[in-house]
Symmetry: C2
Subunit: 293 residues, 2 copies
């Protein structure tokens, strides 16, 4: 049970965490801060936060759990704004989709206060952003990755595990490096491909008419292309080495298929589709035994 | 109202059409044929067809509506098997995802009987195949494209329009060439990309562990990679020129984004994501005024 959640960044991710923690009866009050005063006001009106804080520092003051839910590129500035009140015995987490850059920033800024920070990545989201879409059920049935450092206070890692479990998540632990390599593959690359695909469609003369004919396959494939541009600019930049490595593997697999098409090699093409189809058919969403390191 | 539907190919697409037509009260009985006797038997047991035909020709005999629902590459052989009973005053349709190849085969085989054939492409499907997944609601709220030829009997085009409308589709008409160019863009290319992506994942040493971490974004993006390998081998081959053209445009858009990542050009990268995000946000599935030609 927490007395006060200090929420820095009142958006979809942070707002949903606040609602979920409240719903689970795990927090007495939420004090929230966002760069835009109108967002904070909206969060208060919607009942996502109870008290509006006038600065990030004031949101940390008196809180026994702090969630930083800002675009990844704004994390370092946030650490700087609050570092004087960061207590290495108080749980502080983020929700960033990349972890090496966040951990690097934490090391640079927090120094001896680093043990209080438990880097977190809840694998949830929606192609709409903003506090008005905050949803207590957003994290239900999802996974949350924690990437604690050797210095991280183990008691706080346990509290973080309990908090994410309470809002419905399966909690896994791994290194920041391993996290970033894995998510370049299963999340960042698909986003990059979906963005590029939508741009290729929109730019052709008949693109709009073609799009009017698209069906459910297109709908699902391209859904993530509607994601938030600021958030994804930061992710694509901060994890670019891993993403470019994945993109190269993808382009190699694409060229292999195109070669079979050009060569009119039906059996080889079918074999490639079969292996893709098998790999996808065997996959299932949701908690199941997974490697934890 | 039809007396008898002759169904050639008792799979997901054909079976769903039979069920939907029955449910709409538009057909008295369904006679069905499939290459595999056990499939025909299953279709009869499931009530999708009423009578099992021992050949494609026997399924056509006495039918006043014929639906050819076989993999695209098997269409020409089917035309050959039934041509002696093809009546240019009886509605015959296919459900193929490509139309130029089907129309070419019809021209070659059907000759003076060509006016009876109304090429059709219902934009529906599922990543599972087979008669056991046939569903009367599969076509509800979808679009069906007809690509009639100058020789096609206009009365049959009207009957085809009525039949697809009755099972819940919005019906559009265009040339086979226009159809294939459009679907290379909004359907065939996404499938090719999803296949290549899944293969790139499955082939890397840590692929299985990465996949265990994937979330809802991955789920939707990769769903179509589980599609039927035989069906998609045929589509990727028969429409390869248009698909390779679209793939080239895609690769160009991908390289543009990667260049901004390499150059650490945040503003340019954000602009590219913004245009993709806008294009996708403005798109909506379902019947709405669309170009018809």
């Amino acid at each position: 049970m927490f007395n006060q959640l200090g929420l820095i960044g009142c958006g979809l991710m942070g707002g949903s965490f606040a609602l979920a923690l409240k719903k689970a009866g795990l927090v007495k009050r939420v004090i929230g801060y966002s760069k835009s005063p109108s967002t904070v006001e909206k969060a208060r009106r919607l009942g996502v936060i109870d008290i509006a804080a006038e600065s990030a520092l004031l949101a940390v003051s008196g809180s026994d759990i702090v969630l930083i839910a800002v675009p990844v590129a704004a994390t370092e500035a946030t650490f700087k704004a609050i570092r004087h009140l960061v207590d290495p015995t108080v749980l502080m987490m983020d929700v960033g989709s990349t972890k090496r850059d966040v951990v690097d920033a934490a090391r640079r800024v927090l120094k001896e206060r680093l043990p209080g920070f438990v880097p977190a990545h809840p694998i949830a989201g929606r192609e709409v952003a903003g506090i008005e879409h905050a949803d207590a059920a957003l994290y239900q049935g999802r996974k949350t990755i924690l990437t604690p450092l050797p210095q991280t206070n183990p008691l706080l890692v346990q509290r973080a595990t309990d908090a994410w479990s309470a809002v419905g998540c399966q909690v896994l632990k791994m290194t920041p490096e391993h996290h970033d390599a894995a998510f370049a593959a299963v999340s960042h690359l698909p986003h990059l491909l979906a963005f590029a695909y939508m741009n290729a469609m929109a730019e052709q003369p008949a693109g709009q008419e073609y799009l009017s004919l698209a069906g459910p396959g297109f709908r699902d494939f391209s859904r993530i292309a509607a994601s938030d541009p600021t958030v994804w600019r930061d992710i694509l930049l901060s994890n670019r080495e891993e993403i470019l490595k994945q993109s190269e593997a993808f382009r190699h697999a694409l060229e292999l298929m195109e070669r079979q098409m050009r060569d009119w090699n039906g059996p080889a093409l079918q074999e490639l589709i079969q292996s893709a189809s098998d790999a996808r058919s065997q996959w299932h969403l949701g908690p199941k035994p997974a490697a934890s390191r």
